[in-house]
Symmetry: C2
């Protein structure tokens, strides 16, 4: 069943909702769905609703709105672990790749950070980022749209860091202790910090360690950000969940 | 230091090597390196050599070859765990993304497999795949170029499967036991099987379980192959290494 994004209306059984304009166009003009077809609505806040398309009420008008009746509503449980991703935004399309991957892997909050070796003026287009997150929610079926915090300077973000357990993507050091799953408390919130292409500066690295975050590495080779984000999130799942 | 690919010549201290044509062009015409500049050579089989560019010997000719003298040679240790990736090739560029990610994360062999719900006629362009792997080795610094096996039917690949421990990307089942790091023997070879966009068929899923492979899942949402490959490889690192 196709997923549609419907954030601003109450989704309760038997009520009728109108899809947002872009979603209406997609349903009626692109997919050519017909009255009686089933679709799935996501509100981005954990609700997933099955709905049935109603017959058009404004067939004469140029711009059609899709109306549908809610059949069944599911309140999805929040993820057991709240994953926060702090990331030095890479250039252009790579940030889209990061946002899509983070959504698929159940990150609940993304905080873009300004690092010493990061892109000097990172794109900070929250509207376009939101569109990417919505598309990723629809594609992956994740009913929880990740929140995006405002762009913050590294040290401000670290001062406000409140996850119970934090990790950062790091170049391995000889005296780092490998992380054992038994070491970890049962955390409610876990953060993962990913630096810019040039890496965290030595001073940033020290600040992360001083704040109690643990260095997390995967293999000895250089990872692009599109690889580092899913691989390190995957490693956290391996360490925390299994 | 820039990485260059130099597979077919012995890399030993003090000897002189000629870079392959494409690498010569890149060094001399694109990067405009000069005699005396340092570069790093990778042979794809675990050797990493530091070298110094020599003065041109054929300055009059149109096509220049870059010669360099080897200064120091490092034989990199093979990865402690030999990771084999079995993958139903996705369409076009997504396969390139898989190959790059697999190289960055230290996979040593990639076997493309034909699955029931996979692309009917997957691209099987070994030459173009090799070029992608070489580029990924140079970018990530991985001196071990992953091998690519010929495209195989799913059941033939499973019959030839010889990893000590195998995993496959799966939709979670209620009665799957979560994998605990302590469950796993110290493996020398580990395989990860990733199905096509439509997933493994029920019959393929059963065949994998019957052959002793373990279901590995990350979160409840649908992952694109570009996310599934690094996230599941990352989870294996989390389970096996830390």
């Amino acid at each position: 069943m196709r997923n549609f994004y419907c954030p601003d209306q109450p989704l309760t059984p038997d009520c009728t909702v109108e899809l947002p304009a872009a979603e209406s166009t997609h349903a009626l003009r692109v997919l050519r769905l017909q009255a009686g077809d089933r679709l799935q609505l996501l509100n981005g806040s954990g609700i997933r609703a099955e709905a049935e398309l109603l017959p058009p009420t404004n067939a004469g008008r140029r711009q059609q709105e899709a109306h549908c009746r809610i059949i069944a509503v599911e309140h999805c449980p929040e993820p057991a672990i709240a994953l926060h991703l702090y990331i030095a935004p890479p250039r252009g399309k790579n940030m889209d790749a990061v946002l899509r991957t983070a959504t698929e892997l159940g990150v609940i909050r993304i905080t873009p950070i300004l690092c010493r070796y990061g892109v000097a003026k990172p794109e900070n287009d929250k509207d376009s980022w939101q569109q990417t997150l919505i598309a990723a929610c629809k594609q992956s079926g994740n009913p929880f749209q990740p929140a995006i915090s405002p762009l913050q300077a590294f040290h401000d973000a670290l001062a406000g860091h409140d996850a119970t357990t934090g990790f950062f993507g790091a170049v391995p050091r000889d005296n780092d202790q490998p992380i054992q799953p038994g070491d970890l408390p049962s955390p409610h919130t876990v953060s993962l910090w990913i630096g810019p292409e040039g890496g965290f500066s030595l001073e940033e690295d020290e600040a992360l360690r001083t704040a109690g975050l643990r260095a997390l590495t995967i293999g000895p080779w250089i990872l692009r950000v599109e690889t580092a984000v899913p691989a390190l999130l995957g490693a956290l799942y391996g360490l925390l969940e299994h």
